[in-house]
Symmetry: C2
Subunit: 304 residues, 2 copies
């Protein structure tokens, strides 16, 4: 009996977000369709954050209503306003509440929380309480995501505290999330740390975990294996190894989704993904990027 492991594609969100160009809305729809054709069942498609911060994803409100049916979509949010926009967009597309996931993001690195969310960890968790109440009222499926869950982007200056990670995930659990994503945002994690953190979260909360790994030192597959052996059955990646994090210095691309799929299959897992069609989806991503429109930031525009 092979273990079933889910792949989560984050190309359109974490991938495109870090590009210097805006990928056309129709191309994002095309990527989602290609992922669905390849058998990828979970697609993190966009973020509902202010377009000033992430102009690459400024089309979230118009993209979501026209997404092709098939995958379970998730979208990133950071506050009540973001969830409200997501709810409106999915409703406009005829997606029922509960058929998609609102992901609430915070960070286990105090400094990264400030840089990424402009708030302390505790302030983001107060935001989370409001989001959780809204999700409960409206029957919205909620996930938690924790950036820098293993190592700080500034490992010389700060350590990520495993007890703090467990505390945040407990708070997510209290808020009714259906799962949590632990992210190695900069790709500095080692498999022992991953194994210990995953086991700590598992033993304290029992919540289904997904791992979001980057590959700064080439440790990502070792970290996948550590997670797999600790019971994780969901892993995230991006096509063409796209992505990074604009607020974490030196963050490299996401774990490549095709490498991830091959590795999991070689480890004896079943992903339900067709490698040849996944390659087609990767080419679709590349084609979308090839015709993407360079983004001119406000400051630069003002200077012209």
């Amino acid at each position: 009996m092979k273990e079933r492991v889910a792949l989560v594609d984050v190309s359109a969100r974490d991938g495109f977000q870090d590009e210097p160009s805006f990928v056309a809305t129709a191309d994002k729809v095309g990527v989602a369709a290609a992922l669905h054709a390849a058998g990828v069942e979970h697609v993190e498609i966009t973020s509902f954050v202010h377009p000033r911060w992430v102009p690459q994803l400024a089309d979230a409100d118009v993209l979501v209503p026209i997404l092709p049916r098939g995958p379970r979509y998730s979208v990133l949010t950071m506050n009540v306003r973001g969830v409200e926009r997501a709810v409106a967009a999915f409703a406009a597309g005829g997606f029922k509440p509960g058929s998609w996931d609102a992901i609430f993001v915070t960070s286990a690195s105090p400094r990264h929380a400030l840089a990424n969310n402009n708030r302390t960890i505790e302030e983001t968790l107060e935001n989370f309480d409001g989001v959780a109440a809204l999700a409960k009222r409206q029957g919205i499926a909620l996930r938690g995501a924790l950036a820098c869950a293993f190592v700080s982007p500034w490992p010389q200056d700060e350590r990520v505290d495993r007890d703090e990670v467990v505390r945040i995930v407990r708070r997510f659990a209290t808020g009714g999330v259906n799962g949590v994503t632990l992210a190695d945002t900069v790709g500095f994690a080692d498999p022992r740390t991953v194994a210990q953190t995953v086991a700590g979260v598992r033993d304290a909360t029992g919540i289904p975990q997904s791992l979001h790994l980057h590959d700064a030192h080439g440790y990502a597959l070792a970290n996948v294996y550590a997670g797999l052996e600790a019971g994780v059955r969901s892993f995230e990646g991006a096509l063409a190894g796209l992505g990074g994090c604009p607020w974490a210095p030196g963050a490299p691309g996401n774990l490549d989704l095709e490498r991830l799929n091959r590795f999991l299959v070689d480890c004896g897992c079943e992903t339900g993904v067709d490698p040849a069609k996944l390659a087609v989806a990767r080419d679709r991503v590349r084609a979308a990027l090839a015709v993407a429109v360079p983004i001119v930031r406000e400051q630069e525009a003002a200077r012209r």
Copy 2:
């Protein structure tokens, strides 16, 4: 308490063996000295095989006597004649019996055994019995090495049988080896297979294991982690990621020793190796290769 893990450098043997040039004997001595300075305690320095097959290592008999003191050296052998040559060479250098290791190599892939040793697995094991008797008589320290211990170089055509691997290691144990090296000769192994094979050998024999990994699919570090968690405390690698296997199609370089060291340290292990001095040793290897003399094979020479 950090776990102590041993690094084994195979640059001069597995690395140089696959180069199209002959590295000067004095440069091999220089590499060994640089490895010693970096804190590498185990150096696989050469092979005592017929120079026709491996002209790169044709200087084994003159190299060994002038090796610098410090590391524990090992040399590859495939039969009694090879061990006799090794014994003579180490004796000429004043190395006491038992202070160095004769490694007897066979393969768990029947087809690779024929290609690499020109013998069936059973025929190589009969050779081993003769070598073991000689080693016992003369107080020579003997190690076993098993190529293709996890996956065949021709995975479509043949499977490596875990019971056969255990059987071969048992035969090594009966012959009095002080340890066994399991090699992923082509780098196709996945960490689950590594974990299961290591555990099988451990439970059947209790013999100290060393892992020799190549990195065809980028799985080598995941395989290191799998071995580490299964109790392996010795790992092999080559500087500058050199190496391959001339008789296994598509075999890529060895796991890079510097990456291996960094990974083990990041996993919380202690290797006793100084990374800066290891970089010096890597540069010493590169310098040696830069002035190596192109090898003209007999067939080519005959054509001239």
